[in-house]
């Protein structure tokens, strides 16, 4: 490791000049310059698709730039692969794709290093790092069993273990709770100030960039549009630079993660059509005393949960990630059997443990992990739209190509799905449009209940706005909506009623009027202690 190379603070740790990268006809990065100094946190702000990730992949050696030069500590370098980047002291905390589920925490941390495998040494080091930075983790745990928040912890430890002097965080808070994010940023400050590293924070959330950085580069459509010290920046001007126009919509505010209470005061479900919603008295979905045990050890993932959902209402499920929300979603997708209690839809008990039983009973689900269980990336848009219910376009089990195209085209138009046509492979769509495919498919089945698990995760401003409006409209149309989300803003904005989950239990229920960030935070945190 070249740890001593750049102790002179006037020499930039990283200097990227004129970086250009094209993928086919698309220019992901267009003549991008970026300079990073030691001891400073540099924020890179931009919407999804602005070129932030590609730029960072260039730095980490996953993508070779078509043009441009890279200086590390003043020396020109070519970075062919992640190992070369690591040798130059560059480490990255990835958003996806760096952990192996089937390996344990310590094995993942050891992955990609060189030399003899010293398991007890790695375990000790994991323990030391987790103590030093307050990142509590069990080194023996299998990564696949961990929650998103914990997995990220492993990712961070894996990165810090190599003691990089240039550290890149790619959208680090997209899976964290507000408290976890707060903790991460204080960690980040420590790492930079005390240990003189250069840190990059890639984000599309304004408040965290404002909160945690010293300098901000704003990217839009592959170009750098602005660069300024954080002290000269405010949320509005950053937002304007980022999207290229004035920001006023509340969904945009949510997308940027703005949490200032005074700004949030002028929005709420009172304005717009939410007030027209008619909520029936009879519950459509009744979850009665449901308990689900985990496979190993028998810990209760859901512990005696009871919840009623009525037609036309949106019930938000809040809570720190990993407290049973995912299991609740899985239960309503027929993915896990329950150990006791029952689920009742329209007065009939749903058989659990049978694939598709919940869907047949009238429950539609927008799953938490789109790629994992929402869509098949290699199939076409039409196939993805129709795969849950192909009977309406098939005769005697044979799909009618004409009907398929027609039905898909209709859904594409209705939900304004941006794609080249029904035959476009799903991977060619943006995340927001993939999510529209899921939504269109679930709503096409005409469900009585719609479960939306983290429906806006990873989406950009426009897509979030669309999802939010659609969910609200769905409730107005008389569907009972269960919104499971770790974005408190989203829950507060949409829900008529909010329940808070902790350790598999419902620890509190609030009406929309009683709920605010503070009361929710207290419930989420108070029961945790």
């Amino acid at each position: 490791m070249t740890g001593t190379g750049g102790s002179d603070p006037s020499v930039p740790a990283v200097q990227l000049t004129g970086i250009t990268k094209r993928f086919g006809g698309i220019v992901a990065c267009d003549q991008v310059d970026l300079t990073l100094y030691r001891g400073l946190v540099h924020g890179i702000l931009g919407e999804n698709g602005a070129g932030k990730s590609t730029l960072m992949k260039v730095l980490i050696g996953l993508v070779l730039p078509d043009e441009g030069s890279i200086l590390i500590d003043g020396q020109p370098r070519t970075i062919h692969d992640p190992l070369a980047a690591a040798a130059l002291g560059i480490g990255m905390v990835h958003q996806h794709f760096s952990l192996v589920d089937q390996l344990s925490v310590w094995e993942n941390v050891a992955l990609g290093e060189a030399g003899k495998l010293d398991s007890s040494g790695v375990r000790r080091r994991v323990a030391a790092i987790s103590e030093q930075y307050g990142l509590d983790i069990d080194p023996e745990a299998q990564v696949g069993t961990l929650t998103a928040g914990l997995r990220q912890r492993v990712e961070i430890i894996k990165c810090l273990r190599r003691d990089p002097h240039i550290l890149v965080f790619d959208e680090p808070t997209s899976v964290l709770t507000p408290e976890e994010s707060e903790q991460l940023f204080s960690t980040l400050r420590e790492v930079v100030a005390a240990e003189n590293r250069a840190v990059v924070l890639v984000s599309h959330k304004l408040d965290e960039v404002l909160h945690a950085t010293d300098e901000i580069t704003i990217m839009r459509q592959g170009r750098v549009v602005d660069r300024r010290p954080t002290t000269d920046a405010d949320a509005r001007s950053l937002a304007r630079a980022m999207v290229g126009r004035e920001v006023s919509l509340r969904s945009e505010r949510a997308a940027f993660g703005l949490t200032e209470i005074e700004e949030a005061a002028d929005v709420g479900p009172e304005d717009g059509q939410a007030a027209e919603t008619v909520i029936s008295d009879e519950p459509v979905l009744r979850i009665e005393g449901v308990t689900v045990r985990g496979r190993r050890g028998g810990a209760r993932l859901l512990d005696d949960i009871s919840l009623d959902l009525r037609a036309g209402e949106i019930v938000g499920v809040a809570g720190v990630e990993g407290n049973g929300q995912r299991t609740l979603g899985d239960l309503l997708s027929s993915l896990v059997p329950l150990d006791s209690g029952q689920v009742v839809v329209n007065d009939s008990v749903v058989r659990t443990g049978a694939p598709g039983a919940m869907a047949k009973a009238g429950i539609g689900v927008i799953p938490e992990d789109r790629h994992d269980s929402g869509v098949v990336l290699d199939m076409t848009v039409a196939e993805n739209l129709l795969m849950v219910d192909p009977h309406r376009v098939a005769r005697h089990g044979v799909m009618d190509k004409g009907q398929v195209t027609e039905a898909a085209q209709q859904m594409i138009e209705e939900f304004d799905i941006g794609c080249s046509g029904p035959d476009a492979p799903l991977w060619s769509l943006s995340g927001g449009n993939q999510q529209r495919v899921v939504l269109a498919r679930e709503l096409a089945a005409d469900p009585d209940v719609l479960v939306a698990a983290q429906p806006t995760r990873g989406l950009d401003v426009g897509a979030i706005e669309y999802m939010t409006d659609r969910l609200r409209q769905t409730a107005v149309d008389g569907v009972a909506v269960l919104l499971i989300s770790s974005e408190l803003e989203e829950i507060l904005e949409l829900s008529d009623r909010i329940v808070v989950m902790s350790r598999g239990r419902i620890v509190g229920e609030l009406s929309h009027d009683d709920a605010n960030l503070e009361t929710l935070g207290l419930l989420m945190g108070g029961s945790e202690a």
Partner: protein
């Protein structure tokens, strides 16, 4: 009829030769399956193991022919397997040709090539000397089978634990497993996924080649292009049977070898049964056990999926 059947089974089970034959086949399978297990843990389904065995057997005969030494024969055998491995690995994990097409083609090619060379060179081989472990060899029924074998047999006692240690206790093994479970993550972590896969195939080539040569020196002592007869595929089945754990794989080798030996003993003891049906028995056992076991176990997540950098 039923009594006949039970007495036949009894006769077979109380015959020492059943265990000796069983150990012979189990060892052949174990040499191949150990390497195949390593290869599959890295995410490559290496079906050319059949060809590796055959190539190893021929190269073993050639080595003995040239140097008049079983040791040289075994070394030649290992390299004979390695040659097939290099072709398989370079084709499927550098040029990204379909690994099954490459493997099938190699298997067929090797039958023809070794048959041709056998006729041209006609290598002369001999049996390896037998080493008996004192006391243990006197255990009734299976003492001879486990402790009175031709000496290359005992290499397994080192090879199998070594393979386990390599996969679970070394950095190479960790990276190999990561490549088999999640190649994208492995790549991001700085591991050359296809290099690890190629290396794991080389390993399979070495052990399978050794296995082929062992079989030659342990039993027939003369090369014939039909000596392997699908044992390579049964070794692949043993890996699946074992749920991609090494000890389970060894268990699979014993079960399948047992079925093979059972059938031979039945014939040897003079029981009149349809020979073709009997010969099908080991394969029926293989299919039957696979139907029971295959769905209970989890394979490496990226098994048989080619990895190309930058995709997805």
């Amino acid at each position: 009829m039923l009594i006949d059947f039970f007495s036949a089974v009894g006769d077979v089970l109380s015959s020492e030769s059943t265990y000796i034959n069983g150990a012979l086949f189990a060892a052949l399978l174990a040499f191949a399956a150990t390497g195949e297990w390593v290869a599959e843990r890295s995410g490559t389904l290496n079906i050319s193991v059949e060809g590796m065995l055959l190539s190893g057997a021929f190269a073993g005969a050639l080595g003995y022919h040239l140097a008049d030494s079983v040791v040289v024969g075994l070394v030649f055998g290992a390299f004979g397997g390695l040659i097939i491995a290099v072709v398989q690995a370079q084709m499927s994990h550098r040029l990204t040709a379909d690994q099954f097409v490459v493997g099938l083609t190699l298997n067929i090619l090797i039958v023809g090539l070794t048959g041709f060379l056998d006729r041209e060179i006609d290598p002369r081989a001999d049996r390896a000397s037998t080493v008996e472990i004192p006391v243990l060899v006197d255990i009734p029924l299976f003492g001879q089978a486990l402790f009175g074998e031709p000496w290359p047999f005992y290499l397994l006692y080192g090879l199998v634990p070594l393979s386990w240690w390599l996969v679970y206790r070394t950095r190479w093994g960790l990276e190999l497993r990561a490549a088999g479970e999640n190649p994208q993550s492995a790549d991001v972590s700085g591991i050359d996924v296809n290099l690890r896969r190629r290396q794991s195939i080389y390993y399979a080539g070495l052990t399978s080649g050794l296995g082929g040569a062992y079989f030659l020196f342990a039993q027939i002592a003369a090369f014939d292009d039909s000596i392997i007869r699908g044992q390579g595929f049964i070794a692949i089945a043993a890996v699946i049977f074992g749920g991609w754990t090494l000890w389970g794989t060894m268990g699979g080798c014993v079960v399948f070898a047992g079925a093979l030996s059972f059938q031979l003993s039945l014939q040897g003891l003079g029981y009149e049964l349809n020979t073709e049906l009997l010969q099908a028995l080991p394969y029926l056992v293989t299919i039957g056990t696979m139907a029971i076991f295959a769905r209970r176990v989890r394979s490496p997540a990226a098994l048989a999926q080619p990895f190309i950098r930058g995709l997805k």
